[in-house]
């Protein structure tokens, strides 16, 4: 953290969310989903957005990624207003956004299809597939892979274009708990080596503490930021440490959940 703190706040900001609110209209009735969200994400930061289901955390991420328009407010990335999705910032979906009709190789190569240097393209695709541990499955199709492997393909597809920012919407939600743990530690390994800015939406308190540098806790109806909690523990994180327990208590308290059952 030392070096990063030396840089001033304005320079560090990568993604800036200013006064964003969102409402849907259902049967002529306005339904507020997000109210007045302000947020700054630092360059190279791993930020988790934590909240109960229905708190608008996915909507917030979709607005930041440019898939949905905010009702009020705006999102800027390095000073540039977000008007739609952009290949420099890649979204990893929970329900497998990879194409089932394309092989692992073709899925990972999607963002590199316009590269003229085919040799270099080949090297990047192979390197990325190796990075997520899918060597040997290049010619496989998604339906032949397990849930965890499909999610690795999606992460590889995102990494292949070396994006500045990766958005992840509960990417490991559909996986079993052991696979989820493995995927988390691999994601941290990749984040540490590739220095990406990652915005990660989850409803899992442990997941947010294991991954994030800062956890943005949201409350529901309409969704707003309850507080932002610094984790500040070095990786690999000790799940049994008193500091971990303290943060966990704080997050549960913010979520308003009684967790000592």
């Amino acid at each position: 953290m030392g070096v990063r703190e030396a840089v001033s706040g304005a320079e560090r900001a990568k993604v800036v969310v200013e006064g964003v609110s969102k409402q849907f209209t259902r049967r002529g009735e306005a339904l507020p989903v997000l109210a007045d969200v302000d947020l700054e994400v630092h360059k190279g930061e791993f930020l988790c957005i934590l909240g109960p289901s229905g708190c608008g955390k996915s909507t917030l991420l979709n607005i930041i990624a440019g898939f949905e328009k905010p009702s009020t407010g705006r999102v800027t990335i390095e000073g540039e207003v977000v008007r739609g999705p952009d290949p420099r910032r890649v979204f990893v979906f929970q329900e497998y956004g990879i194409f089932p009709w394309a092989s692992v190789w073709d899925n990972v190569a999607l963002g590199l299809r316009r590269m003229t240097d085919k040799g270099e393209q080949h090297d990047i695709v192979q390197k990325t597939i190796d990075l997520v541990g899918l060597s040997g499955f290049e010619r496989s199709y998604p339906r032949e892979l397990s849930g965890g492997m499909k999610q690795r393909v999606e992460v590889a597809r995102a990494l292949a274009v070396s994006p500045d920012v990766i958005y992840m919407d509960e990417p490991f939600g559909a996986l079993d708990s052991l696979t989820r743990l493995t995927m988390r530690s691999e994601l941290i390994r990749i984040w540490e080596s590739e220095e990406k800015t990652i915005l990660f939406v989850t409803h899992d308190v442990d997941e947010s503490i294991q991954l994030a540098e800062r956890v943005v806790v949201m409350s529901a109806r309409p969704g707003r930021i309850a507080d932002i909690v610094e984790v500040g523990l070095p990786h690999p994180r000790d799940l049994g440490s008193p500091e971990y327990g303290r943060i966990k208590n704080r997050l549960y308290e913010l979520l308003g959940v009684e967790h000592s059952v």
């Binding site: 194409f99 089932p100 394309a102 999607l110 998604p142 274009v161």
Partner: protein
């Protein structure tokens, strides 16, 4: 009466064999058994009614010799297949692009869908007078009718396939800057492909039904015409039934051929449960 004992004996044998070779029984012995029962009922029906017009199974076998010898079978089969092939291929070439565009673009969906849904329920058979008016008696009318009967199932199936493409795939494509023609080729077409293939299968089945009817009414060659001809020339119902069997067999072969499309790696995902 010996029959009850024969039936019981056969049942016992089948039961015994099915325990030892269950696959063999399920896939070969049972279907053949059902077919044999069907043929037996056919024969019994002929015997009991004492008909001299409707052919027995054996009459039908002999009739195959007649139609093969007269060179009609091959020529008429080719005539029917020719019309179906051209009508079907032309319909596919038109219906798939139209379905892709109309399914994808909301604006063209609103513009085109009512017309498509309005024309779709009109039986291709109802078009026969118009087909003959425009193309005369011959291949042109047949190709036109098959085009019509194939176009709507393929177009509607393609539209449905496109509209079923999941939001995450659309967003993935948008995220990686896939637009325009490339979007059609890389996402919309492959995403709709399993349903397109299903609609091709349905359309080909319908086409094979329609061509026989069309040839019976408004053409002077083809398997449908052969059936009509056989009846008109001295009530040769043995030839009628033999031709019907040929029509059924060709239909099965056509379906088997088009089902090969379902085995490609690019579309298998659409047919297996995830």
């Amino acid at each position: 009466m010996v029959w009850p004992f024969v039936v019981i004996a056969v049942a016992l044998v089948v039961h015994g064999v099915s325990r030892r070779w269950p696959d063999l029984v399920q896939q070969i012995v049972m279907p053949l058994g059902v077919a044999a029962i069907g043929v037996a009922l056919w024969q019994i029906g002929c015997d009991m009614s004492g008909t001299d017009i409707f052919p027995t199974p054996w009459d039908t076998v002999l009739a195959f010799g007649d139609i093969i010898e007269s060179d009609r079978l091959l020529g008429d089969s080719i005539a029917s297949l020719y019309r179906v092939t051209w009508g079907f291929v032309l319909a596919t070439m038109c219906a798939v692009p139209v379905g892709l565009v109309v399914g994808w673009s909301t604006r063209s969906f609103w513009a085109m869908n009512p017309i498509i849904q309005g024309l779709r329920p009109i039986s291709p058979i109802a078009w026969i007078p118009i087909a003959i008016l425009w193309f005369g008696i011959g291949d042109g009318a047949g190709v036109f009718l098959i085009f019509l009967s194939s176009f709507f199932p393929i177009c509607v199936g393609t539209m449905a396939g496109v509209r079923n493409i999941s939001l995450v795939h659309q967003r993935s494509a948008a995220n990686f800057g896939v637009h325009g023609f490339e979007l059609m080729r890389r996402v919309v077409l492959p995403g709709a492909m399993p349903q397109i293939i299903t609609s091709l299968r349905i359309a080909l089945g319908v086409a094979w039904l329609v061509i026989v009817a069309a040839e019976m009414v408004g053409m002077d060659s083809g398997l449908g015409y052969l059936i009509n001809d056989a009846r008109n020339m001295g009530s040769r119902y043995d030839l009628v039934v033999a031709t019907m069997i040929v029509i059924g067999l060709i239909g099965i072969v056509l379906d088997l051929l088009i089902r090969r499309l379902e085995t490609f790696e690019e579309v298998k995902w659409g047919y297996v449960k995830q």
